[in-house]
Amino acid sequence: MTQVLQENRENIGKSKLIQGRKPRWTWIACLAGSLIVASAIMAVVGFNVAGWAVLTALFYVVSNYAVTRIMENGRKATDQLWTNLVVGAFLVALLPLISVVWTVLSIGLPGLLAPGFLASDMTGITGAVDQASVEDGTAILGGVKHALIGSLVMTLGATAISVPIGLLTSIYLVEYSRGGTFSRAITFFVDVMTGIPSIVAGLFAAGLMLTLVGPGDNVMGFTAVIALSVLMIPVVVRSTEEMLRVVPNELREASYALGVRKWRTILKVVIPTAISGIASGVTLAIARVIGETAPILVTAGVAVSTNWNLAKDWMMSLPVYIYRQMMFPTAPAAPDASEQRAWAAALVLIIIVMLLNLTARFIAKAFAPKKTGR
């Protein structure tokens, strides 16, 4: 009995189906070989991690191709080469993500944990204060309260303008239009709006307010709200339209058959069915505009103190705060303090954006219409 099994096993090893194939551990051997060769070269020219990784990858891809070509055939070798390249592309794409997250965490976290970072603004933080923190080792003062408040107020303003317009437009497109010229024009121009560079939206809003209220008073939170709305409306329209279109027609017809008016049908049947998708689309749109820098920079300007009023005075936002602290450190001779604040603000911004993204996913999952029982 055991003998038979043994024979079978040996036969499997010699089976015609897997003849002429390289053993499964080939890639480990190739990797080990590449590592050794790369290390040897690095030992000669001087070690650095980046060069070592690049050389290893290069040798691995080449040796794997060569081995496959010798042990199997040219077609298999080409296949192997492309598999390696495709996997390599994915690994390369991960590098910047890891690097950005690591940079933000390693520099930003101490700044974020500094007492009062979230609760104070930059009022009274001059170059001398930063200089002192470097020279005398005192704590790095200053925070993002004004930027956080500015970002929240301006984003809320943009949401308050964009959501009604976007929602109603997509209702028009899906429920009322009959595919005529007007609706096709809207669809086309919404596409066009999606492609407007954010800085152009900012220019538009800045100039519009310049014409309306005159120079000097035109730099305020509300100007930024207009710019952000121009960027946000097309996103809301596209996502809402998509969600309304997947609502089954049977639901509408059932409602009409009961004698319900069209507007009641839309409000009570269509929108409740699609609400999870709409809400998640709106959340993603908010996540997109809260990270916008350029349109706010040219419209709301920069500020050091907290300002709640959208209609008056300059207003800071988180992205602009990061930009200013990186580009124009408070104390040019001691930029470390500013850099730490910038990275801490970047960490805050990334956390906000990630939370919004997670919320969107959660809404889409948790409030999705039930498949059965309705």
């Binding site: 933000v104 929602l167 609706s183 596409d191 492609g195 008016r261 820098t293 990061i322």
Partner: protein, 316 residues
């Protein structure tokens, strides 16, 4: 047989309130659509009107002693296009590879998680990428610039010294590439997974390897989609502001991409608009108009390619 009258208990469909509700609601929806068209028309008209003074200005009126608006905007247009082109050259092969990895190579159970990871790249705000490029990537690339300048200096792209801070056009392009990578990837991925399963299985049944299957069935099917994904990525790269503003030390147009110099239109606007007034403001708005027209053209070509291939590909 008696016919009951259709009213009594039911809501009367002819009631005045119901009719008014319908009118109001459809009217509001239509108005919202008109508002969107009005906003866009306003953007276009406003940009044109405010640009005219700069476009028609003669010698001596413009800043920096330029003779005409075009001699001012021309070098920046070239800079914008070069930066975006390098970004595309880097991002396109990588994104197609990543998209293929997620759609055809990664194990089914984890491929969606990998997709989320790449989408995270898109969630990071551009200013953070800019700060990263300025503080981390630039200094990292300096040794490579030094090597290129020393050993490949005969190529015009690398001749004429290199930047000690790494704040060059090439660094900016790499940052742009990272930013457009998730866009191209997600669009390509969507198309790759729509390849008809039967085509793929037919190729495999004929004895094709996985790569041959992809070459024979997936890539031809997705070609139009890939092109439009690249165009949309290009549109994004052209209009991207903060990454370039933070990374690049601007200067005059030059062929050297590893030294300071060159400038892109969005970055020029962001750097100068807050302090601009009078003619300078008109100049910058006119530059914005040029940028708007370029990105508009690129985006429209992309959409046109998609719509042309709508019937026989998954790229819609």
């Amino acid at each position: 047989m008696t016919v009951t009258s259709p009213s009594s208990g039911l809501h009367d469909p002819r009631s005045a309130a119901g009719r008014a509700g319908d009118k109001i609601f459809s009217g509001t929806a239509l108005t919202a659509g008109i508002v969107i068209l009005a906003i866009l028309a306003f953007v276009a008209v406003y940009l044109v009107v405010e640009s005219i003074p700069a476009l028609t200005a003669g010698e001596g009126e413009l800043s920096h002693g330029k003779t005409s608006f075009w001699s001012y905007v021309w070098p920046m247009m070239i800079g914008t296009v070069i930066a975006s082109a390098i970004a595309l050259l880097i991002a396109t092969p990588v994104s197609i590879g990543v998209a293929l990895f997620i759609s055809h190579y990664a194990p089914k159970r984890v491929s969606q998680a990998f997709g989320y990871v790449i989408d995270l790249l898109a969630a990071i705000p551009s200013v953070v990428y800019g700060a990263w490029g300025m503080a981390f990537l630039g200094p990292l690339l300096v040794p490579i610039y030094a090597w290129l300048s020393e050993n490949a200096g005969w190529i015009p792209l690398f001749s004429g010294g290199y930047s000690q801070t790494g704040r060059t056009l090439f660094t900016a392009s790499v940052v742009l590439a990272v930013m457009i990578l998730p866009i191209i990837t997600s669009l390509c991925r969507e198309i790759f997974v729509q390849t008809p399963k039967l085509h793929e299985e037919a190729a495999l049944a004929l004895g094709a390897t996985r790569w041959e299957m992809i070459k024979m069935s997936v890539l031809p099917f997705a070609r139009a989609g890939i092109v439009s994904a690249i165009m949309l990525g290009l549109g994004r790269a052209l209009g991207e502001t903060m990454a370039v503003t933070l990374v690049l030390s601007p200067g005059a147009l030059s062929a050297n991409i590893i030294n300071v110099g060159n400038q892109t239109i969005p970055s020029e606007i962001a750097l100068n608009f807050p302090e601009a007034f009078g003619m300078r403001q008109h100049e910058l708005i006119a530059a914005g108009l040029v940028l708007f027209v370029i990105t508009l053209a690129v985006n429209m070509i992309a959409r046109w390619i998609v719509s042309r291939h709508k019937e026989f590909s998954g790229a819609n």
